[in-house]
C-alpha cells in the first residue's frame, strides 16, 4: 500500500487532534435506511476504519454501555466519505434494541475493527458471488473488489420474497451477469440461490471461485452444489464471539481435521472443508439465555410503551 503525503496528514491529524487523555470512543451514526420490518442499514463515521477496511472483514459493535459485543460483517465502506456501512437483521434482543434506538445522530457506545483476515481477491477471471438474504450485504464488497480487479462477476442473490429485497441495483452495477431468486417466485426466478448457482455453472465451465455468504444452512447447500465440480468455494462464517481478537476461542470452528478461530483465522474459509453442522450446533449455545433476554426486553418495552407511546415513524 503506497502512502501519499495527504494520507500522512490525515492519519496524523486523526491522532494529533484527539482531545483529553482518554478519548471518548463513541461512534456517530450518520445514516439509517430500513429495508424491511426486520432489516436495516446503519452508516457510521469512522475515517480510519473506512480507510483500513477490506472486503470480508467485520467489526464488533457494542451498542450501549451494558451491551454485548456483536460481530457484524462490513457491508460497505467509503474511503472518501470516511464511512462504514452495516446491514443488520433484528432477530435477538440486541439487534431489536438497535433497530429501536439507533438513528441518525445517535452514538454507538463502541465499534472496533476492521477485524479478521481480508478476503483473498487474487487474479480470478470468473467468479460467482452468492448472497442469501442478509448475506447480500457482506458479499457486496467482495463482488465489487472482484469487478475492480478485472474479473467477470456473476451475481446470485436470493430472498424469501419481493418485500425483503435490498441493494438489487447496487449489486447489479458490479455484475456482468445477475441472477435474483426468491422462494415464492415474486421476484426473479423461483427457487433458492443454489438454483441460481446451478444455472451459472451450466452456462460457464470456467468458473474459478464461488463466494457464498448467508445463513449457515444456505452456505452448506452452496458448498454441496459446487462440490461435484470441485469449484473453489469460499464462505464467511459468523459464529458466536466475544473479543474478536483470538483471545476467547468462543468462535472456534471445525475446518477439515483442524480447529480454527473464525475471528483471526477467518472469517473466510474453504466451504468444502467447513463442518456446518458443528457450526449450527454451536450457534444454539445461548438459545435459552437469548430467549430470556428478548422476552424480558419485550415486556419492558410494552410497559414503557404504555407510559410514552412511540412518537412518529422511524427514519
Amino acid at each position: 500500500m503506497g502512502s501519499t503525503s495527504s494520507e500522512r496528514t490525515d492519519l496524523q491529524k486523526a491522532f494529533n487532534t484527539s482531545p483529553g487523555l482518554e478519548d471518548e470512543s463513541a461512534v456517530e451514526i450518520i445514516r439509517r435506511e430500513d429495508f424491511s420490518d426486520v432489516t436495516f442499514m446503519l452508516e457510521f463515521h469512522h475515517p480510519m476504519m473506512a480507510k483500513a477496511a477490506k472486503p470480508g472483514q467485520f467489526v464488533i459493535v457494542i451498542p450501549q454501555e451494558h451491551g454485548e459485543r456483536i460481530p457484524l460483517t462490513i457491508a460497505d465502506f467509503d474511503r472518501k466519505k470516511g464511512t462504514v456501512t452495516l446491514v443488520i437483521q433484528a432477530v435477538g434482543k440486541t439487534t431489536k434494541e438497535m433497530q429501536q434506538t439507533c438513528h441518525r445522530g445517535t452514538p454507538l457506545f463502541g465499534v472496533v475493527g476492521p477485524m479478521g483476515t481480508p478476503s483473498h481477491i487474487g487474479n480470478n477471471k470468473k467468479v460467482v458471488c452468492v448472497g442469501g438474504g442478509l448475506g447480500v450485504a457482506p458479499v457486496f464488497p467482495q463482488a465489487r473488489a472482484f469487478k475492480e480487479s478485472g474479473a467477470y462477476v456473476i451475481g446470485v442473490i436470493g430472498f424469501r420474497n419481493k418485500e425483503l429485497v435490498f441493494w438489487e441495483e447496487k449489486f447489479r452495477k458490479y455484475c456482468d451477469e445477475f441472477i435474483i431468486c426468491s422462494d415464492d417466485g415474486s421476484v426473479g426466478i423461483k427457487g433458492l440461490v443454489t438454483d441460481g448457482i446451478k444455472l451459472a455453472l451450466k452456462k460457464h465451465t470456467d468458473i474459478d471461485e464461488v463466494v457464498a455468504i448467508g445463513p449457515p444452512i444456505m452456505m452448506k447447500a452452496c458448498a454441496e452444489t459446487t462440490r461435484p465440480a470441485n469449484i473453489k468455494t469460499t464462505v464467511s462464517l459468523n459464529p458466536i464471539m466475544v473479543d474478536g481478537t483470538g483471545m476467547c476461542g468462543g468462535c472456534r470452528v471445525k475446518i477439515g481435521e483442524g480447529i480454527k478461530f473464525a475471528c483471526v483465522d477467518g472469517p473466510d474459509f474453504d466451504g468444502h472443508q467447513v463442518d456446518f453442522d458443528d457450526l449450527m450446533n454451536r450457534l444454539k449455545r445461548f438459545n435459552e439465555d437469548e430467549k430470556k433476554a428478548l422476552e424480558r426486553w419485550s415486556v419492558s418495552c410494552r410497559i414503557r410503551g404504555k407510559e410514552a407511546p412511540p412518537t412518529g415513524p422511524r427514519l
Binding site: 502512502s3 478519548d23 451494558h66 472496533v112 483470538g246 483471545m247 478461530f261 445461548f286
Partner: protein
C-alpha cells in the same frame, strides 16, 4: 540511632492478613484478602532487618528499593514510602496483590531463612491502597522532548512501558482493542483478587503523566505497525499484546456447547459482566457441576468466579499433583477453602455430550508421575486401563495460551518457532524502533514479569532515541556538591536528538 535489629529482636510471627470468611465470600465478588491496617503494617515493617546487602531487590523484576520503602513505613513517613515505590513501580496497589512474591522478593528475604519472610507484598499493597484513598500521585517534572511513542496493548507490559516513556518526557499514546483499558488486569483477573477500582486508579495515575489511551483500537487491522512508524509519526513503538489464543487439547467433544476456555469465561464475567445478565446483555450459561482442566492461576480464578456466580460444584482436574501446580500456593488454598474439589493425577481423554450437543461429562484417565521432563517437573504418564467417567455440565480449559497471531499476520516482524515475537536482549524486534515485551514475547507469564519487560523495553527505547536514562542520572544526584559529571550538567535531563540534514 536505633539499636541494630537482629533476627532475635524482630517480631517473630509474620503479621497475618485478615481474610473474608470463605462461606461468606463465595457469595460476593468483594476482595478475599482484606489488607493490613496501620498497626499490622507498622508491626510487619519492624520485621525487616534492613540488610546492608539486600537479597530481596534482585528478586524483584522491577527492582523496587524494598528496604527503602519499608524503612519509610517504620519512620511513619507513608508518603515517603510511596515515593520510593513509585520510583520503580507505578502500580503498587496492583503488584502488591497479584505478584507471586513467594517466588520473588519474599523468596529471597533473609528473614525467611529462619522465620517466615517479611510480607513485602502486603506492605506494598497497603501503601498502594493508601495512595489511592489519599489521592497521592507522583507526577515528575517532565520536559517534553518531542518524541512520540505508540504502545500497543494497555496490559501490564504496555502501561509499565508507557509510564517510563512518559516520565522521560515523551508524548505517549496507548492503543487498546477492548473498550476498557487494563488488558489482562481487566478481563482476566477477577474483581475479588483485583478490584476494578484499583485498576481505574492506577490507569488514572498513568493519565496524569499525560499518557493518552485510545480504546476500541485494534492495531494491525485498523493500522499496521509499519504505518505507526511511517505515516503516523511514532518515533518508537512498543508491542505488549499478550499471549491470547487459548489452547485446547484436540480431544473428541471439544466443540460441544458448554466447553469453553478460561479466557472466554473470565472475559464474559470480568469485562462484560455476564454475572449480571440480563441487566448486562452478555450471557454465560453457567453450569451447575463444572470441571476446570488445569491448575494454574487462571484455573483458580475461573473456578472461584464460577462458585461466586452460583455453581453448586466446581472441580479441578489436573494431570500432575498439587506440588507441580503452577498456581500460587495462596490461590490453591483459597480455592480449597471455598469448596473447590481437586482431582490430581487425572487427565481428560474425551468430552461426552447428550443428544442436544450439550456437555454431560468427560472420560478421564488416571496418571502417575514419571521421570522429570525438561521443565524439571515430573512427567505425567497415563495408567493403562484406569479410565473413568466424570459428570459435568460445563468444562473450562485453563491449560495455557498460544501466541496471538494478529501482529504476526499484519506486520513483517520476525516470529520465533512458537509464533511469539522474536526479540534480542534489549527487547528490540526485527523492525527498527519497534520493541516488544510481556506474554507476546515469552508466552504466558505473570503481571510483574510483563511489567518488568515493559520497563526494560522502555529503557532500550530511550537509548534508541538518544534520551538519557533518568534512572542512572538519579544516582549521581545524591551528592549535591557535584554539579557536573564528565563535563555534563547533572541537572540536565536529556539530550536533544540532532538530525543531520
Amino acid at each position: 540511632m536505633a539499636k541494630k535489629k537482629t533476627i532475635r529482636t524482630i517480631p517473630q510471627e509474620r503479621t497475618p492478613i485478615a481474610h473474608q470468611d470463605p462461606g461468606k465470600r463465595i457469595k460476593n465478588f468483594d476482595e478475599v484478602a482484606l489488607g493490613y491496617g496501620l498497626e499490622d503494617a507498622l508491626n510487619e515493617s519492624e520485621r525487616c532487618l534492613m540488610c546492608p546487602e539486600t537479597q530481596c531487590i534482585p528478586g524483584c523484576p522491577v527492582s523496587i528499593d524494598i528496604p527503602g520503602f519499608i524503612a519509610k513505613i517504620t519512620a511513619k513517613d507513608y508518603r515517603g514510602a510511596y515515593d520510593v515505590l513509585t520510583q520503580s513501580n507505578l502500580l503498587p496497589a496492583i503488584c502488591g496483590r497479584v505478584c507471586p512474591q513467594e517466588d520473588q522478593c519474599e523468596g529471597l528475604c533473609t528473614v525467611g531463612d529462619t522465620l517466615e519472610p517479611v510480607a513485602i507484598g502486603r506492605l506494598e499493597r497497603w501503601i498502594g491502597d493508601m495512595a489511592i484513598s489519599e489521592g497521592w500521585s507522583n507526577i515528575p517534572y517532565r520536559e517534553p522532548n518531542g518524541f512520540r511513542i505508540g504502545i500497543v496493548g494497555s496490559g501490564p507490559a504496555g502501561i509499565a512501558c508507557a509510564a517510563d516513556m512518559a516520565k522521560a518526557g515523551c508524548d505517549v499514546t496507548v492503543f487498546e482493542a477492548f473498550h476498557k483499558p487494563g488488558g489482562v488486569l481487566r478481563y482476566g483477573i477477577p474483581e475479588f483478587r483485583l478490584p476494578n477500582a484499583v485498576i481505574d486508579a492506577e490507569i488514572d495515575a498513568l493519565s496524569k503523566l499525560g499518557v493518552r489511551i485510545k480504546c476500541n483500537t485494534l492495531v494491525g487491522r485498523l493500522f499496521t505497525l509499519e504505518q505507526m512508524r511511517n505515516e503516523m509519526g511514532f518515533d518508537a513503538v512498543f508491542v505488549g499484546t499478550g499471549a491470547g489464543y487459548p489452547s485446547f487439547m484436540d480431544i473428541p467433544g471439544e466443540s460441544l456447547n458448554g466447553v469453553l476456555s478460561a479466557n472466554e469465561l473470565l472475559t464474559r464475567c470480568n469485562l462484560m459482566h455476564a454475572g449480571e445478565f440480563p441487566d448486562y446483555d452478555t450471557p454465560l450459561h453457567l453450569g451447575q457441576r463444572i470441571a476446570v482442566i488445569g491448575s494454574g492461576n487462571t484455573a483458580m480464578d475461573a473456578m472461584r468466579v464460577c462458585l461466586r456466580l452460583g455453581a453448586a460444584n466446581v472441580h479441578c482436574v489436573y494431570r500432575r499433583t498439587r506440588n507441580e501446580s503452577p498456581a500460587r500456593v495462596e490461590e490453591i488454598d483459597h480455592a480449597e477453602e471455598e469448596g473447590v474439589e481437586f482431582h490430581w493425577l487425572a487427565a481428560p481423554v474425551e468430552i461426552l455430550g447428550d443428544d442436544q450437543n450439550n456437555v454431560r461429562g468427560m472420560r478421564c484417565i488416571r496418571m502417575e508421575l514419571g521421570e522429570p521432563d525438561e521443565s524439571g517437573r515430573c512427567r505425567p504418564v497415563p495408567v493403562q486401563g484406569s479410565e473413568f467417567e466424570f459428570e459435568a455440565d460445563m468444562i473450562v480449559y485453563a491449560i495455557g495460551t498460544n501466541a496471538n497471531p494478529i501482529i504476526g499476520q499484519t506486520s513483517k516482524l520476525k516470529l520465533n518457532k512458537w509464533g511469539y515475537l522474536a526479540t534480542d536482549d534489549t527487547l528490540a524486534t526485527s523492525m527498527a524502533g519497534v520493541y516488544a515485551g510481556g506474554d507476546i514475547v515469552t508466552g504466558g507469564a505473570t503481571v510483574i514479569l510483563a511489567m518488568g519487560a515493559g520497563r526494560k523495553a522502555a529503557s532500550s527505547m530511550k537509548k534508541y532515541l538518544g534520551i538519557r536514562d533518568t534512572d542512572s542520572l538519579h544516582s549521581t544526584e545524591i551528592d549535591d556538591t557535584i554539579t557536573t559529571l564528565f563535563g555534563i550538567d547533572t541537572r540536565e535531563k536529556n539530550f536533544a536528538r540532532v538530525r543531520i540534514a
